[in-house]
């Protein structure tokens, strides 16, 4: 093989490899997916109450006398209303 043919062949191989790598490169899509995931996480935090929904001024029902069923129900509804997961009722 002539040396010029060798370089000519290598050139085309390099070009093909570059095109292949470019096709596989997902660097243009990953940041977008991460942004979406962060947005979902932030929305969950904002809406769930775990981070932002509960007020520090809350106090529980008075246990100086044993709690009644109504007091317990009211306390539990207070928590459940924060993100209302019916499944834990």
């Amino acid at each position: 093989m002539k040396i010029s043919s060798y370089f000519s062949c290598s050139k085309w191989l390099l070009l093909a490899a570059s095109l292949f790598l470019a096709a596989c490169d997902n660097s243009t899509t990953v940041p977008s997916a991460e942004d979406e995931m962060e947005a979902v996480t932030k929305a969950f935090d904002d809406e769930s109450g775990v981070v932002n929904g509960l007020e520090d001024t809350y106090v529980g029902p008075d246990s100086s006398v044993p709690l009644t069923e109504a007091q317990i129900t009211e306390a539990q509804e207070g928590v459940d209303s924060v993100d209302a997961p019916e499944s834990i009722l």
Partner: protein
Amino acid sequence: MKKNIRSLAIASVLLSSSAAVVAAPNNDCKSLPSHSELQTALTAAIQESNGGLDFDMWATVVNRYGAVCAVVKAINKATGNEEADPWPGSRVISAQKANTSNSFSNRQVSWSSASLYGVSQPGGSLFGLQESNPVDPRAAYRGNAKHYGESNDPLNGLKVGGINVFGGGLAIYDAEGNVIGALGVSGDTSCADHNVAWRTRAGLSQHVGAPTTEGFVNLEKINYNVANASKTIGEAKTNGFTHPLCGFSEDTVGKTIGSVVVPAT
């Protein structure tokens, strides 16, 4: 006619006895200690030597549905504190322990949280138990922390959840052998916590005692006999379900108050 009356009488007896077995408790705390009753019992319990660090402590009582009835904190006179200063993280742990013993005790078996330690370790038949009923963070960390341990603790009335497998949790039984809730204490070594729970529960008039009926499996005492622990469930009734020692004199104290399984010699 006589036959009918006799059948009716038998049916009545069966109905009443089955009602005693399956009757669901109300989701309230009327048969469980108030805040002040629990405070008194815990305070008295930690003035005695429990073999650990002699720290201030937390105690929590839950009802049969897992709802918190009261949370208290108490001063151990050995600390010299004017206000109770137990480890902040132990408040939720005390609630976890109460939830644990309530969750796994019934008319057939009574589990202390300590007795779940061995079988929930890697290779044990209940490995992973700790992950089975997670703490609800909305309940555990709700409200103003200044009220933690007071009669209006923000945990009151809430289902905190959580499973804890070291010493400090004990079920509370009524006179009919029903579990009506459970007690959890925390703030010292886990072995001392078990002793404190043992003493505290004894100070609660609502706890009549675990059933002594035939077939009832009582796993309330802590078992430090790790070296001889059996891996089989059948033998575990007598020498399994172990808990490690904590390094102080908790086992010695436990023997004096009856909270420890004494290994056969």
